[in-house]
Structures are given as C-alpha cells and as structure tokens.
C-alpha cells in the first residue's frame, strides 16, 4: 500500500437505537476508483458522511497520507481536499458555470469581481477535465449530467484529492455515463482517489479496481474486482439466510383485481428518458405482489401513476376486467384503490390531529348527512377499527404524532380499510417500525388478503419481499425486468434483476434505458 491516500480504521457510529457502523475500515489509494456497495441501509451514506465531516465517528481513526487527521466539519474536509458529489446536486441554477465553480470565493480584482479571470480559470479546469462546456452558460439550462460535471469541476477547483461520488449514474443515460467515465479516468491520471458508490454491478466492473462491501453496518470485506465473480459479490452483499420472521400463511388467490398496461411517464429531470415505462402489471384478489427494485428505480412513481397522484403520459387501467379511468386520488378511492405511502409522516397522516380524525379522513362522505358530519358514526367507525387492528392508543383523541411507528402505520391502514378498498398499494410497509410491530403489520396484510384484497407491496427489504409476497415483480429503470415466484426465487436472483441483469439471457447485461417503445417484461 505505497500510494495510500486515505484510510479509515475501526469506525463506529451509533444513532439512537441503531448501530449504523460497527468497526468499519476503508481505504483509497492515489488514482484509484474504489467501489462501495451494500444494500439500502447498509451504512454507505453514513460512512461517507463521516468521511466528509457531516457526521463524527464515535470511535475510529482517519488517516490522510498516512498521518492522522480530524475531519470535524465539511469546511475542514474541503481544506483536507475531500469533496463529495451527492446524488442531489448542489448548484445555483441562476448563475453561470464559472460562478458555480468558484461560488463562495470568486476571483476578485480589488472590490470588484474579475469575471474575465474567473471564466478563464473555469475554462482551464473544464478543459483539463475534458469537459465540453461554456463557462458562461447558465446552470439551469444544463442537463443533469452536465450539472454533475460542473460539480466535479467545482470539487477540482478546491484542489480535491479525494472525491466521493454517490450514485452518480442514477439519472444518466448510457452516453452520459461514458462521458462521466472519461472524466473519472482523467481524474485518475491526475492522481485523484475516488470512492464510487453504486448499485450497478456492470459499472463497478468497468471502472473500479477494488470494491468494499458493507452489510448492516458491518464491514464485510474488500476484493479486487478482477478476482471476484458477480456471484460472489452478490453473496457478500446479501449475506445471511432468510430468517423466520414472517407469519406462515397460505393464500387463496382469485381473479385479476387490477391490471395496468402501458404506463409511461417521463423523467422530470431528463425528459428524453422514461421514468416509468411498464407494459403490464397485474395483481389478483387475495394476492400479495411484491415490487422490488433499487431506490430510484421508479417503483413509487409507477404506483403514483396508477393511483392518479401523478399524471402519466399513457396508462390503461382495468379493475375486475373493466376499463377505468383514474386521473386523481379521489377517483382511485371511488374505484376502491388505496395507497399507503412510503413516508407516512409526510403524506400519510395529519400528525397534529387525533387518531379519530385520521382514521375517518378519507371516509367523510359515508359518515355525513347533508354535508354535516355525524360525530357519533365517526367515533363508532374509528373505535371499530381501533379494535380490529389493535391500535395501541390511550384514546381516539390522542394525536397521531405521539403514537409509535407501528401504530401510526395501523392508523394509515385503518384509513384505507374503512373505505372498503379492494386493491391496496403499500409502499415500504415496515419502514421505521420495530420488529414486534412488523410482525403485526405482516399479519394484518395476511388478514386483508384473506378477505380478498389485492395487495401491491413495494419493499426495499428483500427478506420482506420473499417472506410476504406470492409473486415478485422486479423494477429496473422504470421497467418490469422480470417476474419471479416468491416461493422459488432467492435474494440473489432479485438483486440480479434489480441491478439490470436478465436471468433468462444468461446473466448478460440488459441494454440500458431501452428505447421508449415496449418495456421489457418477462
């Protein structure tokens, strides 16, 4: 390890109730691109935030050029030459490229800004990196990929020697990615060490020498990519066997309850791509359809289109075989489709209002006469669901804010159940819920499916997908990249599909962002 630039040793970090990182070590050499992989919540972001001074490690040491260093703030990180490029870009859209590169420390001559020097210097940096951009262009008129390049130029203008790229290709097209890789290679030649976080195996093998794996906050190992097969890598990422934490259940599956065809919606940030491009998706009565995929693959966006929360360019919906039009959440509710959102605190609950109000929120019409609410009926209805779902609350007048995560989730479920939904879309049903409450939510889902409700369950937790679903649909880049039988498949198979490989084509990479017409379905 002669050229070691940066090393972290024995890093531990706890958040209240969670050990986010446990004795993690990680190093980057000069001119190296070091891949960092792991499932969602494995601790990659936390590690990078410690590296760039956003968080402080509870234990462990950081060495730069072999000498111990303290990174106590983002400013200090800048001074030490460490920069991070987040997935969410941090640029000022109304300013020019040069202004953004030198933001915070423009080139001055006396009290005035020297635009000429600043643009010349920006041009020099852009040229060195081989970035073909005019320094006078307003950042708002650039594509996401170009903006990312501005971010890189900005990092280089700080003389960064260590650059962290957090899923840089998540929203880029094939061509843009190869441009990015060219820039990364130029940086490599200049001796910049880079950490490359990505879920995409094919990219890792293209540009990384070594890859480190994190799982559940544990450091699993570092391997040279030439010496490891994709299979081994996926095994390292997934690790443990499926634990037995799901209620055993056999379901009675009926006819198709909801079918969606030809759902298309363009990417807000990159209108030349489809964010959602699904040719067909269906769920049957009494069935749980697991929807797997990487974060940002478009799972939530698909569901929002089906529920009418987002406008789709095209969509055909059939409920019980009949063509329906759903253009707004209101129409979805009329058609007995319910949607439990991923972030229940943001868009699932009125936190400052009581349990009673929240349960009845989407159910006001049946509870009222001539536009006036019948308080007695409302209280009865809420009490009914409190008992049915065993919501633990001191009273129906308790603010939902004060309930535990599991009980909040039950309130959201109650809200939809009293509408007598026939199709329930549920996004990350157990996020932020403790283990005991998880089991209860699972039981609840089972009871619902027993009553003939068709359930679409999005989840990033593979054990949950395997443990709860009957069928698994894997989404990749807004498309259905395969459907699996939950009883027969494995986490590895799902991960392969989620990363864009196709099982049937003998694990060969799919063409990225296949042409707009016709999604890939298996």
């Amino acid at each position: 390890m002669s050229d070691e630039l940066f090393r972290m040793e024995g890093i531990c970090k706890s958040f209240p109730g969670v050990k986010a990182l446990d004795n993690v070590s990680f190093s980057v050499n000069k001119g190296e691109v070091h891949g960092l992989v792991g499932e969602n919540g494995a601790g990659k972001s936390t590690l990078m935030k410690i590296m760039t001074g956003v968080y402080h490690a509870d234990e462990g040491e950081i060495f730069i050029d072999g000498k111990p260093a303290k990174v106590e703030s983002t400013k200090k990180a800048h001074e030490l030459g460490i920069s991070i490029i987040f997935q969410e870009l941090n640029l000022c859209p109304h300013l020019t490229v040069a202004d953004n590169v030198f933001i915070g420390r423009p080139r001055m001559s006396g009290p005035l800004i020297n635009d000429r020097d600043m643009h010349a210097e920006a041009k020099k940096i852009l040229d060195e990196l081989g970035i073909d951009l005019n320094s006078h262009t307003m950042v708002r008129s650039l594509s996401v990929a170009q903006q990312q390049m501005v971010e890189i130029a900005k990092a280089i203008s700080y003389d960064s020697r260590i650059l962290v790229l957090d899923e840089p290709t998540a929203t880029l097209t094939e061509k843009e990615i190869s441009q990015l890789f060219d820039i990364i290679r130029t940086l490599q030649k200049k001796g910049v060490g880079m950490v490359y976080i990505s879920h995409r195996m094919e990219e890792l093998s293209q540009i990384c020498e070594r890859v480190s794996v994190l799982r559940d906050g544990q450091y699993i190992g570092t391997r040279t990519l030439k010496e490891i097969t994709m299979n081994e890598l996926v095994n390292m990422i997934v690790g443990r066997a499926l634990e037995n934490k799901f209620p055993k259940y056999t379901r009675r599956i009926g006819d198709v309850a909801l079918e969606a065809r030809n759902i298309r919606r363009r990417d807000k940030f990159n209108p030349s791509r489809y964010k959602v491009n699904v040719s067909s998706l269906y769920v049957r009565h009494g069935e749980i359809l697991g929807v797997a995929g990487l974060v940002g693959a478009g799972r939530t966006e698909i569901m929002r289109c089906i529920f009418g929360a987002d406008e789709a360019e095209s969509i055909e919906l059939y409920i019980d075989g009949k063509r329906v039009n759903i253009r707004s959440p209101g129409q979805a509710i009329t058609n007995k489709v319910g949607y439990v959102t991923e972030d229940r605190k943001r868009d699932g609950l009125a936190l400052r209002l009581d349990v009673l109000y929240n349960i009845n929120m989407a159910h006001l019409r049946p509870l009222s006469k001539f536009g006036f609410l019948n308080d007695k009926a409302g209280a009865d209805n809420a009490e009914d669901y409190r008992q049915k779902l065993r919501i633990k609350t001191p009273s129906l007048r308790q603010m939902t804010e004060n309930l535990s995560g599991g009980n909040q989730q039950k309130v959201v479920l109650a809200k939809w159940l009293c509408n007598d939904v026939r199709v329930l879309i549920i996004d990350e049903p157990t996020r932020g819920i403790d283990v005991g409450a998880k089991f209860e939510v699972y039981e609840l889902l089972n009871r619902l499916s027993d009553a003939g409700v068709a359930i679409i369950m999005i989840s990033s937790e593979l054990p949950e997908i395997l443990g709860m679903s009957d069928r698994v649909t894997v989404i990749y880049e807004g498309m259905v990249n395969g459907e699996l039988d939950a009883k027969k498949t494995t986490q590895e198979e799902i991960l392969y599909l989620a990363a864009g490989y196709n099982l049937l084509e003998d694990k060969q990479a799919l063409p990225r962002n296949a042409p707009a017409k016709g999604g890939v379905s298996v």
Partner: protein, 341 residues
Amino acid sequence: MSNLLTGNPLKFSNKGQAGAFSNLGVATKKAMLSGAALVLLYGSFAILNPLFLAPANQINLLQQIVTYSIIGYGLTFCLICGGTDLSAGASMALSGIMVVWMLQVGVPLWIAIIIAMCMGVLTGIFNGFTIEILGVVPFIATLGTQWVYRGVANVLIDGNPIYTRDIPSKAVQDQFYLLGGGRTSFWLPYSVIITAVYGVILAVLLSKTKVGRQIYACGSNLEAAKLSGINAVGTRMFAYCVSGFSAALCGILVSSRLSSAQPTAGQGYELEAIAAAVLGGVSNNGGEGSILNAMIGALIMGVLRNGLNLFRVNSFWQQAVTGLILVAACAAEARRHRRSA
C-alpha cells in the same frame, strides 16, 4: 454598460458566441421583453394624447418614477436573495419624518440626512434580525415590522404632518427643497439624477461584487450557497439593509419635494415597487433579476400611471389596475417557474 446594468454576471467574448441568445440570462431576456412593452406603451400614449409628450409632463413623469425606482432597487435585492420587504413604505415614512423633524430642531442638514439614512439601515437590520435570527418568514416579518416603523413615526410627531416651513433657518429650507424638488438648468430634476446614479451604484454592487453574487447564490439555491461556505445570514441581512437604505433615501427625497412629512406617507409603495420589479423581470422566486429590470419596471408603472392620469382615469381604478398588474405579473412568473421545475 448594458451588461453592468443587467446584473447578469456574463461577459461575452466576441468570438464563438454565435448562439449567444440561448446563453443570455432569463432576466436579460425578460428585460428585453418588458423593454419592448415599455416602448409600446410609451408610443401609444404619445400617439393617443398630444399632452403626453409635452416637456412639463415628461419631467413630471420622471419625477413620479423616482419613488418606484428607488424603493424598487432595494426590493430587487430582497427578491433576488429569496425574500421580500413589505416594510419599505413604512420605513420610507419614518426616515422622511426623521429628517424634517431633526431639521426643525436645528440639526445641520447633512447630519440630519445621514442620521435618517442610518435609520433606514437600522430598519433593514431589524428586518434581517426578525427573519434570519428569529426565523420568521420574510412576508410575515416585514408585514409586522411595517407597523413598528409606522407606529414609531406616529409617536415622533404625534400623528400630525410636519412641514419644512417650520424649519427655523430659511437657507436650510431652500437647500433641503433642492434635493427632491430642485432642477438643473436643463429642467432635469436633481432627484432624477440621484435616482440614476444610485441605480448605477447598486447595479455595480449587485453584479460586480462578491456580496452581490452571494445574493444571487442565496436566492438561487440556499442549501448550495451554505454548503459552499457562503455566510447566508449575513448576505441576506445585507439585502434587507440595502432595502432599508433605499427606503430612507426615497423618504428624504419625497419629504423634500412635498416640503412636508407625514406618518401615512408611502403607504402601499412597497407593493407598487414589487409590482414594478416583477413586471420588469425580477423573479419573485429568487435568484434572478437585475437593477435594469427594476428600472424598466418602474418606467412601465410610471408611464402607465401618468398616461392614465392624462386620460383622467379615476385614481381608485388606477389602484385596482395596479393590483391586477401585480397579480398578473406574479402569475406569469409562477407559470414559468412551474414549467421549468
């Protein structure tokens, strides 16, 4: 010069800028658009009413524009950095009263003016404190502070107007009148010259200095600005101070021209100034705009007011029209914003 005024930090090298228009800032494009609207409006009034082009009316027109322009400049700073200042009118009344009141008790002219200006900066600091330190949203904060300033103004002079004729020295009376009411030998009012010079100074400040660029950065993407080590609190405080200072300058000029000051002066001027600025192309969503935009906007508002007066349109209707223009300008802006988002 035009570049300087547009405040767009771009400076074109002459070669290889064929598609330069696509590179132009939105604010510059909007300045062209509203500039064209101004010419159209001016032209049609000139054709429709021969009185419009009369020298006396033209001078009158320019003098009317002084208030919109100066308050508008200050508001442009606030709008670009993502805030707003509804207290500008009240702050203007307060400074106007301060200066006349001090002259009445015998404070020397220049010292009275400087103190009144400092008062304006102080209102800016107080606004900034309420917004940045106490964390009140700009709209509500300045809605509240305008009552503070107007209240203090009322207290100072017991709610009644005060007049410059009560200033003990006749010489000071005349000198003070020159500022807002005096004219050069070309009939050009001093106040118009002051407005123009002040505009150029602010344009340089906004487009050519570090703090100016930081104001754009804060309004464009606050998070990015902070992460880049910009002192966002200080930068935005500065913008509110510019607004307070401008309001004070305007207050002094107006009380000079009217030879009096009253606590109700400047009511609604802040809204007219916002309307003017947005009409001229300053974004009420922050991040874009320039002093040139504010100037053009003020000219449009001034020409419109003047023209409507010549056609004897009821002033209440003019008020309604101003309100409609403000809403329409903001709606157009919002529509554009939605589309680009």
